[in-house]
């Protein structure tokens, strides 16, 4: 390894975001010494489960040079339909069957995106904006609008499976569900695809230059189709996990979260123009957003300020590197 690659590069989000996270934690620990504790950590990890899966999915699409805003609708559709399906048809199916059905349903919805994008060559933002609305509207019109408060036993069981469970000195509980392992699994599988398979390298290549990818004979259509199906399956998984953990399937949940997720991914250094994005950066971005959402109150900032802070973080976190890069370019000219 060359020495230069060991030097800290201040223009990278992967350096800036951890610094902001550390500063934030220091501030929180200063205002409330009990901030630095295992319950805070498990809270944060629990908060990252669904957001983390979404972010990995959104990052994959960004790397390929597209953008997907429909994944929250896919997740909501999947969790609500799966819960209803299992309740009415097969309440006895185990939790892994519920996850399997959810992922298959998500993949099917993702393939609709894939067909529209690959088959008709439509822009990804327009297609997914459309399907976001269609999936959601279809669910609310034809499947139902009422919360399902009694989940099928399989999903209930999955929500109760805990990896870590403990009691604080003050008698309160903390826990981390096994669903967290699913997020870790998604990260590992996605890392493997992106960095260890030709499919993953093709995703980077397409994001770098679609035309070049076609010219050297990458199967662009198959690769893009795979991306949207895979993202659909991940969204389905996230949906099932969300409702299992919330112990309720609320059809109005999740939708609206898509921009926060894309914000987390962009904070992590992925570029909207495609070709760039790392899992490390994405997860740091998720950590920062979850930290702000969960713990802003600790340092004495009112909860209503959350959105403002997240907005500022996005502007500074993505603007600063861009501004520095521009200055460096101006100096070199």
């Amino acid at each position: 390894m060359q020495l230069s690659s060991l030097r800290i590069d201040w223009t990278r989000n992967e350096t800036l975001v951890p610094l902001v996270i550390i500063a934030f934690c220091a501030l929180a620990a200063f205002s409330d010494p009990s901030f630095l504790s295992i319950p805070t950590l498990t809270d944060l990890l629990r908060g990252s489960i669904v957001l983390g899966i979404f972010a990995v999915a959104a990052m994959l699409v960004l790397i390929s040079g597209g953008i997907d805003v429909s994944f929250t609708a896919v997740a909501a559709f999947t969790m609500y339909s799966t819960a209803m399906l299992l309740n009415t048809l097969a309440p006895d199916l185990p939790w892994y069957a519920a996850i399997g059905i959810g992922m298959a349903m998500g993949a099917a919805l993702g393939s609709i995106n894939g067909i529209l994008i690959v088959g008709f060559g439509l822009p990804t933002l327009i297609v997914t904006l459309g399907t976001l609305s269609i999936f959601r509207g279809f669910m609310l019109t034809f499947i139902g609008q009422k919360q399902i408060t009694t989940l099928p036993p399989g999903m209930r069981e999955f929500g109760r499976m805990m990896m870590i469970r403990g009691t604080n000195p003050d008698g309160s509980f903390y826990s981390l569900p096994w669903a967290f392992a699913a997020t870790v699994g998604v990260i590992v599988v996605t890392w493997f695809i992106l960095h260890k398979t030709m499919l993953g390298r093709s995703i980077f290549a397409i994001g770098g230059s679609l035309e070049s990818a076609r010219r050297i004979g990458i199967n662009v259509r198959a690769t893009q189709f795979f991306i949207y199906v895979y993202v659909g399956a991940l969204a389905g998984l996230a949906g099932i996990i969300h409702s299992s953990m919330a112990r309720v399937a609320n059809p109005f949940d999740l939708v609206g979260l898509e921009l926060s997720v894309i914000a987390a991914v962009v904070l992590g250094g992925a570029r909207l123009t495609g070709g760039h994005g790392t899992l490390t950066g994405t997860l740091l971005g998720v950590a920062l957003i979850v930290l702000v959402r969960n713990s802003l109150v600790v340092i004495g900032v009112p909860a209503t300020w959350q959105m403002v802070v997240i907005g500022l973080l996005i502007l500074i976190g993505t603007g600063l590197p861009a501004w520095q890069a521009k200055r460096a370019a101006a100096r070199a000219a």
Binding site: H195, T197, R201, S209, S212, R215, G275, A333
Partner: protein, 494 residues
């Protein structure tokens, strides 16, 4: 004689009634370098596409290694070892050098898993084959144009290329980089790889190729050993007429000073630059890459902010570091890289010209569209832009015509000083002569023109005076009539 690597016979191709190629035939031998010369629109691109299997000829026979190819497609063509390096290189800017080189080879092997070590091995071996050292992990977007081109060449080699077709490989390179490229082409030839070299720059063509094929209007008008051609003969074949290199008309000795640059400096780019430009004068500025010529050109138009110094135009100070104010003061700038800096490629020709005059035609706050449009059309007409329609996208034009569109935009603003950075980069011989004609015309109308170029014959035939830059300083001030190309080259390099 052995069977040629590629044999073309009577290849004809028409597009909606227009004949792009008419009965073209020639051979390419193993390890042979052939130059395909011709102006834009002569059918060179069509021929490349046919060889690459992208387009199918209407008539004619193509044989690879003696085997007739009846239905050529990109895959079959690539499998036969025919690799095209497009002008844009078709690389992946976000991926590493190693991955860019090995990607096609890996795809060809049909592997599922990405073998990083194997990829690095392929890349290192291929780079060694052309004798170039490059960091394997560097992202391609951080490389210079010349290095990107080498990566593209390596990518072709990594997939067992027998014939590498290079489309305009030298347009964006400096003289030194061209030398390095020619050395690599010689190496490839010695290695048994044939090269079909498509170029506008005539001197290079003669130096590296054994054989020259000249196309004009879709027909083969000349074919022969490179030694049988000289620059004048090639130009005559390509254009069908004599395009003479001659010095510009002498400058009126009493012409007043129009534009003055005084002690202009920018740390790390140029240092204490002083010169005057007279009315109607064409001033050349030349220098090798890194001499500061591009930074100086940009500074004149406010694209680069100098640290100190003054610009005076017609007695008034020009504000530094602000292109809008420089333009308002009467300076026009035509950038080196038209495609990325000078044109809105997808927009219409008319709009590309009109954009420079929107302010002048919207004094009332509303846009006087008809007047704006008429003015654009008038300038396009005056500069003889050949286009099917003013509504056609600029991208559909040839390089020479694109350059004219940029010129038309600036001339419509009525500038007093026009800075042209590499005015004929990427245009063919005929268009180049016409652009030089336009420059002469502008100078006759009293404009001061500054031409920044490393194309020495161009400078000698258009400029009254040539300034040579070295390491950020102006080291020579030579009247064009008193020097020769070799002497100028010597002064640039020494």
């Amino acid at each position: 004689m052995s069977v040629p690597l590629v044999a073309l016979n009577g290849v004809t191709k028409t597009y909606s009634g227009i004949t792009a190629l008419d009965d073209v035939g020639f051979d390419i031998g193993r390890g042979e370098a052939v130059c395909l010369a011709g102006e834009n629109g002569s059918g060179k691109s069509t021929l490349i596409k046919i060889l690459a299997g992208v387009e199918k000829p209407d008539r004619g026979r193509i044989a690879f290694d003696g085997a007739q190819q009846s239905a050529l497609n990109p895959r079959a063509s690539a499998a036969a070892g025919i690799k095209v390096i497009f002008q844009d290189f078709s690389l992946f800017p976000n991926l590493s050098v190693a991955e860019n080189i090995a990607f096609s080879a890996e795809l060809g092997e049909g592997v599922t898993l990405f073998r990083k070590r194997h990829v690095r091995d392929i890349a290192a071996r291929t780079l060694a084959r052309i004798g170039v050292d490059m960091p394997l992990d560097a992202p391609v977007e951080t490389l210079s144009v010349a290095h990107k081109q080498l990566v593209a060449i390596c990518r072709a080699l990594a997939t067992d290329a027998k014939l590498i077709i290079m489309d305009e490989p030298t347009t964006a390179l400096t003289e030194k980089e061209v030398r390095a490229l020619l050395a690599i082409i010689r190496r490839l030839k010695a290695d048994g790889v044939a090269v079909l070299f498509v170029s506008h720059k005539l001197a290079e063509v003669l130096e590296v190729c054994e054989k020259v094929v000249v196309l004009r209007n879709g027909r083969k008008v000349a074919e022969g050993m490179a030694s049988e051609f000289d620059a004048a003969a090639l130009t005559r074949h390509m254009t069908g007429r004599d395009v003479a290199l001659r010095a510009p008309a002498a400058l009126d000795a009493s012409a007043p000073v129009l534009f003055e640059v005084a002690s202009l400096s920018k740390a790390g780019a140029f240092d204490n630059v002083n010169f005057q430009l007279r009315r109607g004068e064409v001033l050349g500025i030349s220098g090798l890459l890194g001499s500061g010529r591009t930074a100086l050109a940009k500074a004149l138009f406010g694209l680069v902010a100098p640290d100190s110094g003054t610009l005076t135009l017609g007695g008034l100070k020009v504000p530094l570091g602000d292109p809008l104010k420089a333009a308002a003061a009467g300076i026009g700038y035509v950038p080196e890289d038209r495609l990325t800096e000078g044109l809105f490629l997808l927009q219409s020709i008319g709009r590309n010209v009109a954009v420079g005059r929107v302010d002048a035609h919207s004094i009332t706050g509303l846009l006087a569209r008809a007047a704006l449009w008429a003015e654009s059309a008038d300038w396009l007409n005056r500069l003889r832009v050949k286009a099917s329609s003013i509504e056609a996208p600029v991208r559909s034009l040839s390089g020479g015509n694109q350059q004219r569109v940029v010129l038309a935009r600036w001339l419509a603003r009525g500038p007093q000083v026009l800075v042209l950075n590499g005015p004929s980069v990427g245009v063919d011989v005929g268009s180049k002569a016409e652009i030089h004609e336009i420059i002469a015309d502008l100078s006759r109308q009293g404009l001061g023109v500054i031409v920044i170029s490393d194309d020495l014959p161009e400078l000698l035939s258009t400029c009254h005076r040539i300034l040579v830059m070295r390491a950020g300083r102006i080291t020579d001030d030579i009247p064009a009539g008193s020097t020769s190309e070799t002497e100028l080259a010597h002064r640039l390099a020494s």
